[in-house]
């Protein structure tokens, strides 16, 4: 009975993140449009786009190998699993022991690995351009993420997200300088990883500035739908991650009672909405950065993360 309940909750979480991810992206777009005094697309437009893409016939470049067609499935599945390993409304899920925060960060690395390979597979210059810029960003963003993981894990005494979330929820930490640095760094890494302004503009197809869009330029139909869905899942993952570490308010400790669970789901959606509004405000007020300024931006995140970790090595109370 207990196992079936746990399995059901884990399955529920997987479906929840899958269903909520396009909604979050749609909500960010809508909020941004409203801030710019446009009417904006309807909230459910992302779902409609996905449905339309799935129904279309795929066009694949002549020289593309099997990797080009397998990669979208891998990217989607890996991102989805990574996103459902992050606690959203409840902490102790069945598969939370399968991997810690380092594993989640590395899974995102795997997804990006296949994304970049697929970009190089067609043999056009746009794919290479996107992949080479993404490689430069990733080479700094991944260490930055690991430094943040170190800082958080040292405070909580565990790199297991469920334990970290419970620990943060207990309020034993108080205000810490290292956690402040880690939060700033994590937000910066999240902006880079999800390809938002000022690092990458999700709405542009201008070749001088494209990164993510250049990599997926040759994709169409169901393959593009999978990659777009994976991209929305990645945004959801980072929002969930920031929420469960730094704002664990309302998250249910275990899944045996219905009341806290429902409250947890409601709190989770409230956090998503808040994050979407903040992101929209941030993106509206900032301009795109030159590509070679981005390493400075991510380098700052890396240094903040390293500083947070160093502080914790020097004193456990900072």
């Amino acid at each position: 009975m207990g196992l079936i309940l746990l399995l059901g909750l884990q399955f529920l979480q997987m479906l929840l993140v899958l269903a909520a991810a396009p909604l979050l992206t749609g909500f960010v777009r809508l909020a941004k449009a409203r801030l710019q005094r446009r009417a904006g697309p309807p909230l459910l437009q992302v779902y409609r786009d996905l449905a339309k893409l799935i129904a279309k016939d795929a066009v694949v470049a002549e020289e593309a190998s099997w990797l080009f067609r397998v990669a979208p499935y891998l990217i989607f599945a890996i991102t989805w699993i990574a996103a459902s390993l992050v606690p959203t409304f409840e902490t102790h899920l069945l598969f939370s022991r399968s991997g810690d925060l380092i594993v989640i960060a590395a899974l995102l690395g795997s997804a990006r690995f296949f994304q970049m390979l697929a970009a190089l597979d067609v043999g056009t210059s746009f794919g290479g351009l996107g992949a080479s810029r993404e490689a430069m960003f990733a080479s700094l963003a991944e260490p930055a993420m690991l430094m943040i993981v170190f800082a958080v894990a040292l405070v909580a005494g565990s790199s297991q997200l469920s334990v970290i979330s419970t620990f943060m929820h207990s309020g034993l930490t108080g205000l810490r300088l290292s956690m402040g640095l880690a939060l700033v760094a994590l937000v910066m890494v999240a902006i880079v990883e999800t390809g938002r302004l000022p690092v990458d503009n999700p709405a542009t197809h201008l070749e001088l500035t494209m990164v993510h869009e250049a990599m997926v330029l040759e994709y169409s139909a169901r393959y593009l739908a999978l990659i777009d869905l994976a991209h929305t899942l990645k945004l959801l993952l980072y929002v969930s991650l920031i929420a469960c570490i730094f704002v664990p308010f309302g998250i249910a400790p275990s899944g045996d009672r219905l009341g806290p669970l429902l409250f947890g789901v409601a709190a989770y959606f409230a956090k998503l909405a808040l994050a979407a509004v903040l992101l929209a405000v941030f993106e509206t007020t900032i301009a795109k950065m030159r590509v070679f300024r981005v390493p400075n931006f991510i380098g700052a995140a890396l240094m903040l993360g390293l500083l947070g970790t160093l502080l914790l090595f020097l004193s456990a109370t900072l």
């Binding site: 746009f126 565990s158 999978l226």
Partner: protein, 677 residues
């Protein structure tokens, strides 16, 4: 089991003799390589039996050879059994591959005598139980691999590589000789049992540690002692490169662990610091060198440097923990290092064998002239992809499992009390993370440029799949990468006797969970279960495929990609390099070269543009300066030249002066030994 390994070594040496006598006959390759495959399978089976199931442990064999009062002592400890597994699994795969690959060799009689002897020498180093044997076989290992490096002696490159290798190997052996001399003490105890029983004083111990770091580090490729490695490893035939990079560097790691962990007793706190910092610098510099490189085999050799850095980070952490008597933490770090050594031997062998297949079928090592090979060599391509994912440290394959354990060891290090270590460990952790991220970027370059896209030369477009023996060797290694990645607990449990015998501590075994989950310290701290992650990913991908095929369109239309208005290479198929817009390896690495290379290598790109209206091509020249060569070896060469010039004067003296010099030397020596008289 010791005698089994000795018989195996004898069989290899006999095979080498057969290669020397009958090397020019057509069937010699199959006999030598096939024989050495069978012997390697037997040897690795024996090592696994001893380490995993405790069959015949610790039997010592003394042969009546060598020094008269000492004999030749052989014994397999837990440590040497672990490294025997690493060596012989790699040797088996490389030999099987060579059955097919050896046919491509132009002059097989230059390779056949030395290949089995090289494997035998590595095995003998691992089972040697006295300093005399150890050094004899260490030197045999160096010399036989040197002979293999210069097998293609018509190449200028192979000859200079051979000279550099010989110099570095000799100075490394000299350092080990001095280290063993100090360990033997005034009574000259050369057998390992008495060395083990008798820990030297703190000063002697420190000198021995530094000598071992130099001697083993120069063989393993620690920066700044790595310069021979990216020259010598690629110059050898590919199956030998695989053994040198994947296996011989591990024998050097064994030598370091043996001397520092087994012989020296409790370390001082700063030993770990030195090893950690050298490991961190080696990891980052190795991968940055690799990113700047476009020669496939040399790039892989630079990645060996990087992975050796990762292994030494683990060893440094273990030393630091051990100095503060945190034995469980030390066991975690040491287990991670040994596990990474094993993993590296698997995927580096696989990648070198794959690059050998590419070289054999296209004749090209330069990535800028490859491309599109995944369609032409589909199986080699898939196997190379598995190796690339594994070496990039991506879950759920094996490279990630050992790096994850290393990160867990770093997370335990705030318990260390030394202040310099508190500052150094997080920085080294950041360097490790940087190296891991950069190596993923590098292998996207390798796989993306070599196997994906469109061919960049006629040779690449005419490539065909490699033969069945080559594929069999690679399939074995790739399968091991996957199995070890999905069930890392199996290998960690297999290697557990190593940490138990060296540190008296081991990792908690499973915590009542199955061996599928890795739990370094306790379940509430961290755990990793790659099999369930893999199952979830497979289920997620399958779910997506089912939904899309049920509800979506299944039609695929093939169309030419948009080439930005340039002609596709199919239009101008006689023009190579094609007038295309495809990215090159140097183009792919350009952003990283600009971000990291301008700082580390003083990299400069110079563009010469023709004036407007001129149709002459534009030129891009990118220049790099190797900081290690510039900082260490160039001054050393100047110094050696200066000293040689000075010494040259001695050649042209009169007989009276020679006699004076002899007399003065004699008096000096007599005065020096007078106090002992």
């Amino acid at each position: 089991m010791t005698s089994t390994i000795l018989f195996c070594a004898l069989a290899w040496i006999l095979l080498g003799g057969f290669g020397a006598l009958r090397g020019r006959t057509p069937e010699a390759g199959a006999v030598v390589y096939g024989g050495s495959f069978i012997v390697a399978v037997i040897a690795s089976g024996a090592a696994i039996l001893q380490l995993g199931f405790g069959v015949a442990p610790g039997v010592a064999v003394v042969l009546p050879l060598g020094l008269p009062h000492l004999g030749m002592n052989f014994q397999i400890t837990a440590l040497s059994a672990a490294f025997l597994i690493i060596t012989d699994v790699g040797a088996a795969a490389a030999s099987l591959y060579a059955v097919g690959h050896g046919r491509n060799e132009r002059e097989p009689w230059r390779v056949l005598p030395f290949f089995p002897v090289f494997i035998a020498a590595m095995n003998m180093v691992l089972i040697a139980a006295d300093a005399y044997d150890f050094l004899i076989f260490w030197e045999l290992m160096s010399l036989s691999s040197w002979a293999l490096v210069v097998a293609h002696h018509e190449d200028e490159e192979a000859r200079t590589s051979g000279v550099v290798y010989l110099l570095m190997a000799s100075s490394g052996t000299l350092a080990l000789l001095l280290a063993f001399g100090l360990l033997a003490g005034v009574h000259g105890q050369y057998d390992f049992a008495s060395i083990r029983a008798d820990h030297p004083g703190s000063w002697i111990g420190a000198v021995v540690m530094l000598l071992a770091l130099f001697g083993a580090g120069s063989k393993a490729g620690l920066v700044p002692l790595h310069i021979w490695l990216p020259r010598a490893h690629p110059a050898a035939p590919s199956h030998v490169s695989a053994l040198m990079s994947g296996v011989m560097t591990k024998v050097a790691v064994y030598a370091f662990v043996l001397i520092v962990f087994d012989f020296l007793g409790k370390p001082a706190w700063w030993w770990g610091l030195i090893v950690l910092i050298m490991g961190g610098i080696t990891a980052v510099l190795g991968v940055l060198y690799a990113l700047m490189e476009h020669d496939l085999k040399r790039l892989l050799a630079y990645h060996t440097v990087e992975n050796i850095g990762i292994i030494f980070i683990g060893l440094g952490l273990a030393l630091a923990f051990r100095a503060e008597r945190l034995d469980v933490c030390a066991a975690l770090a040491l287990a991670a290092a040994v596990f990474h050594a094993f993993n590296h031997s698997l995927f580096k062998n696989l990648l070198f064998l794959g690059s050998g297949a590419v070289l054999a079928r296209t004749g090209e090592r330069d990535m800028e002239r490859l491309g599109g090979l995944l369609r032409r060599m589909p199986q080699t391509g898939l196997l190379f992809l598995i190796g690339s994912v594994a070496i990039s440290g991506l879950p759920p394959l094996n490279g990630f499992a050992s790096e994850w354990m290393l990160f867990q060891a770093i997370l335990l290090s705030p318990r260390l009390s030394a202040w310099s270590l508190k500052l150094a460990v997080p920085s080294v952790g950041a360097m490790l993370a940087l190296a891991a991220a950069l190596s993923a970027a590098c292998f996207i370059k390798v796989f993306g440029i070599t196997f994906l896209g469109r061919p960049r030369s006629p040779a690449a477009s005419a490539a065909t799949e490699t033969d069945v023996f080559c594929r069999a060797g690679m399939i074995g290694l790739a399968a091991l990468c996957i199995v070890v990645g999905l069930a890392p607990g199996m290998v960690i449990d297999l290697f557990a006797p190593v940490t138990r015998s060296l540190l008296g501590a081991r990792l908690p075994a499973g915590h009542g969970m199955s061996w599928l989950t890795v739990v370094p310290i306790s379940l509430s701290r961290s755990s990793y279960n790659p099999l369930s992650i893999f199952a979830l990913i497979a289920a997620g991908g399958g779910f997506a495929a089912v939904i899309l095929h049920r509800y979506g369109s299944r039609i695929i239309c093939r169309a030419p990609p948009w080439g930005c208005g340039y002609a596709s290479p199919e239009d101008a198929s006689d023009a190579f390099p094609p007038v295309g817009t495809q990215y090159s390896a140097s183009g792919f690495a350009q952003p990283i070269r600009r971000v990291f290379g301008s700082f580390v290598f003083n990299a400069r790109d110079e563009v010469t543009m023709p004036p407007p209206g001129d149709v002459a091509p534009a030129h891009l020249v990118s220049a790099l300066i190797d900081p290690v060569w510039q900082g260490c070896y160039a001054p050393l060469l100047v110094l050696v030249g200066w000293a040689a010039d000075r010494a040259n004067r001695l050649q042209f003296l009169t007989i009276r002066r020679y006699l004076t010099i002899v007399f003065i030397t004699l008096v000096g020596l007599l005065v020096w030994i007078a106090p002992w008289g």
